[in-house]
Amino acid sequence: MNVFTLILYMYAIAAAISFFVALIIHAIYFVIKIMEKQKSGKNEPMPLSAANFKEVQTEAALMENEGEVMAAIAMALFLHSKDLHDEETLKLTIKKSARPYSPWSSKIYGLNIYKR
């Protein structure tokens, strides 16, 4: 067989296989997407029926009246968000205390306490 013909054949085979691989990728993407959609669909909450709609409505009304609960949640969230800080001063200082006392240097807690 002529070399040029062989090269052409081999290029055609490579192209066919490469696009076949691309097709496989495409198929896998869609099959798994559909499978995941079905799986997540099972976990979704049931739509509201006419029977329990009233119950939900009452609960929502009750929640609206309970202003203290909302205030407490808002306060808790506020305190929590205040406690989180992104920026630190990056200053490491040793705070001077009025009485420089440390238990590390205390003789009371030493291992060798002799009776006098």
């Binding site: 081999m10 490469s18 097709l23 990728i25 495409h26």
Partner: protein, 406 residues
């Protein structure tokens, strides 16, 4: 003490002086080249992970030649030409790098280790997001891999050697090693050395080619953000790796070790096996790259490189890489015209599968003109496809060529 005794004491010098002028100058030249490669690796012009062990190995092998007990010249590193079992058993106990060469290099295991590492580093979501575009660009960027075969044959190589050197156009070191091991056992050492030397050059040379072939106005084209960005899950990537590996192994059993090595890396990455990811992407990949570099350096022996075919291989290697890059850019231009000027043709060069170098080169060249233009997702997709198409072509060459030309 006589002069003869002094020369016996410094056998490296005496072997240098007692060999012919061709070997003498080649040895000195290769020692200097080894030092230059270490320097260029340190400077970042060439890939340091490979070039530093390669350079120092090259300098050491050409310096450390001594007289063997039978009077011939040899070294205590390795002998790639030993094939008889008895000689091999003897030499395995003498040459310190012989076990690594015999058990990992000459059977392609080290190439497979590197490929596993590449697999662990690959994020195939870029390929899954746009499979047809990526495959098209990668196929265009294989132009050199195909066109170099008739060119090499016209220059006097047989088809197996021609196919092996043409694989340099795929810009994938392990693949060149694997193909040349299967097709041209006699030339696999120089072909692999040429391939790895040139792969380092893609980083330095391709930006100039881009500047030459793509006008500044087109180079700065920014891709429009996609409206529906495909969200690719780990499950999809894992399924792709398993199915693609099985199908490709079924089609090309000869190249099955390569496919398995690549896709097992991808599968481990997507399975989230952190201990294995750390091992394959770290010690295994870097350890294999180090020994690959060291062995390639040690294989650059003056006697081996004095083969007249070496010059031809050097020329064909660069021709193949150049043609592949041009092919990739042609693919990029085709997409540019199809999309009516919305696609940046520089992405095409990333189809040359030197992961992730060519993708980085493409993005860098575009960013130099338009810092806001982001082409990396498309470029990495084409880059990963390049690895797969090169593996497919290696499989085709190893399977089909021996069928027609025995």
């Amino acid at each position: 003490m006589e002069m003869k005794d002094i020369m016996n004491l410094f056998q490296g010098v005496s072997t240098l002086l007692s060999s012919g002028p061709a070997v003498l100058f080649t040895r000195i030249g290769l020692m200097l080249l080894g030092m230059l490669l270490v320097y260029l690796g340190k400077k970042g012009v060439l890939e340091p992970l490979l070039m530093i062990p390669l350079g120092i190995g090259m300098a050491a092998i050409n310096a450390g030649i001594l007289f063997m007990p039978n009077g011939s010249m040899g070294n205590l590193f390795l002998d790639p030409l030993v094939s008889k079992p008895d000689d091999l058993i003897n030499i395995l106990q003498i040459n310190f790098l012989q076990p690594i060469y015999t058990y990992t290099f000459s059977n392609g295991l080290i190439a497979c280790f590197v490929f596993m590492g590449i697999g662990v580093l690959l994020d195939v979501s870029f390929l899954i997001a746009r499979p047809y575009l990526s495959m098209f660009l990668a196929l265009c960027a294989e132009l050199g891999t195909f066109l170099t075969v008739p060119i090499a044959m016209a220059l006097g190589l047989n088809i197996k050697d021609a196919a092996s050197i043409a694989m340099v156009g795929g810009a994938d070191g392990p693949m060149v090693l694997f193909t040349s091991l299967a097709l041209s056992k006699e030339l696999f050492v120089p072909i692999t050395v040429v391939a790895y030397l040139y792969l380092g050059l893609t980083y330095g040379g391709y930006p100039y080619l881009i500047k030459l072939l793509v006008p500044k106005r087109i180079r700065g084209i920014a891709h429009e953000p996609r409206k529906n960005v495909k969200k690719v899950t780990a499950g999809q990537k894992l399924a792709f790796s398993v199915v693609a590996c099985t199908v490709l192994c079924l089609l090309f059993p000869v190249a099955a070790p390569l496919f398995l090595s690549l896709f097992v890396g991808v599968a481990i990455r997507e399975s989230g096996l952190t201990h294995l990811i750390d091992f394959i992407g770290g010690p295994l990949l870097y350890g294999s790259t180090f020994f690959l570099g060291l062995l390639l350096g040690v294989l650059c022996d003056a006697h081996l490189l004095l083969d007249p075919k070496i010059l031809l291989l050097l020329v064909l290697g660069i021709v193949s890489l150049l043609l592949s890059a041009i092919g990739g850019l042609i693919g990029g231009y085709i997409m540019y015209f199809i999309t009516r000027g919305k696609f940046n043709p520089v992405v095409g060069i990333a189809g040359v599968s030197c992961v992730p170098t060519t993708a980085k080169v493409a993005q860098k060249s575009v960013s130099a003109v338009n810092p806001k233009a982001l082409i990396l997702p498309e470029a990495i997709g084409a880059n990963i496809s390049g690895v797969i198409t090169t593996a497919i072509i290696a499989g085709i060459y190893i399977t089909i060529i021996p069928m027609f030309f025995k």
